[in-house]
Symmetry: C2
Subunit: 229 residues, 2 copies
């Protein structure tokens, strides 16, 4: 029942933070199904993820799933509903531009494949790479790849080229028909409004960590100063 | 003046979204200094990053920098103040655990190096990798690496091991003295409260993109249905 409720509302709007947490719920629920668990409470899920139970309940309500008071959620239903929401069941085919270090790592990522991403090929301008395979995926030059995008109707492009080449490659991908770009470069892309861009800027994560570490050391130093010696 | 104001308040609290945007400002400001620009307005920065000017002004005010009305910000001062805030000047030495695809990519990342991260070595349990170098960085086994962490006083650990090994490796790193963990695994880590964890879960970014693409296609289908044929 709740399952139908969920899948019938694909236009529902979730917050970005909810969507970011959905893959975490999937992992917890998968572990629970593997251990044979049928029912789970929001408290249990919340504890595993260091979240407040109310956050979990709100997140799950927003994908259309409401638990039974004092009983909990049906694990299988919940897992299926969330997976449908984040598109794990409908595998997304994607093309990756820039088969350098990071690009190659993504081509071989098991975790992304398990989350419904099928990277069918890579694009590179390095003659030594074109025509080879990386983690089993063929590497094409841009014109060849453009044909592939159109033929197979690939909608998703993963951008791992150097900063200087990012805008031009993004333009070429969009011209070929790409409608969503997962941007691993640090370049802010300027693209038509119908194109969805998800920036995955690792330097932002590093900045968060550095600021937190500096703050902690500053606190430690202050504490040490007031300690009696 | 404003510069001193900024560096004297390392305990200032910024929001997470502000800290995430700081590396973007650094990139824009670097481009401006390279092109010889001395003054920049919040509007110019905002336009380049698709942000509202008020967001930029608030972010910069929170690092202690206030522009002059109708004139703008001194580019060099602003750049220096932000870089100090995110610790680009004080290079962080780090150790990376798990020299697989993603780990190797991070070991070779120029962008992370430019943002003040110095990964001095990698840890791996694969006998074929131990004793070799990846992107010039030596690969050690855990016990050897533990010594290194203690000797050099490394505070930052980058976790790229498989899901199953994540918690145990994190425990070992913390025991060796690591105080901040950049977690690229999808495992929620359970660690002492003094340890700072920054989760870099790529599947969350993929989920955001998939949901946005599905929503767009749903809208397109609905639009097509109501279109006169």
């Amino acid at each position: 029942m709740t399952l139908i409720q969920a899948t019938d509302k694909p236009e529902a709007v979730f917050s970005l933070s909810t969507v970011r947490r959905l893959p975490c719920y999937v992992r917890i629920l998968k572990e629970l199904t593997e251990s044979g668990r049928e029912i789970v409470s929001s408290e249990t899920i919340a504890n595993r993820l260091n979240l407040l139970p109310i956050v979990v309940r709100k997140d799950l309500a927003s994908v259309g799933i409401v638990g039974k008071p004092r009983i909990g959620y049906n694990v299988v239903y919940l897992l299926d509903a969330i997976e449908q929401r984040i598109g794990i069941h409908n595998t997304s085919t994607a093309i990756l531009a820039g088969a350098g270090n990071l690009g190659s790592a993504l081509l071989g990522s098991v975790s992304l494949r398990e989350n419904g991403l099928d990277i069918v090929a890579a694009i590179d301008c390095n003659a030594g790479k074109i025509g080879t395979r990386i983690h089993g995926k063929p590497v094409y030059e841009l014109t060849e790849a453009t044909e592939l995008i159109k033929t197979v109707n690939i909608r998703l492009g993963i951008l791992c080229v150097p900063y200087q080449a990012a805008q031009q490659m993004a333009d070429s991908l969009v011209e070929a028909g790409i409608r969503g770009i997962w941007n691993f470069t640090t370049r802010e892309l300027s693209l038509p409004s119908h194109v969805i861009v998800q920036n995955e800027d690792l330097t932002a994560g590093l900045a968060l960590l550095s600021v937190a570490l500096m703050r902690e050391e500053h606190c430690l130093r202050n504490t040490e100063q007031v300690k009696p010696t």
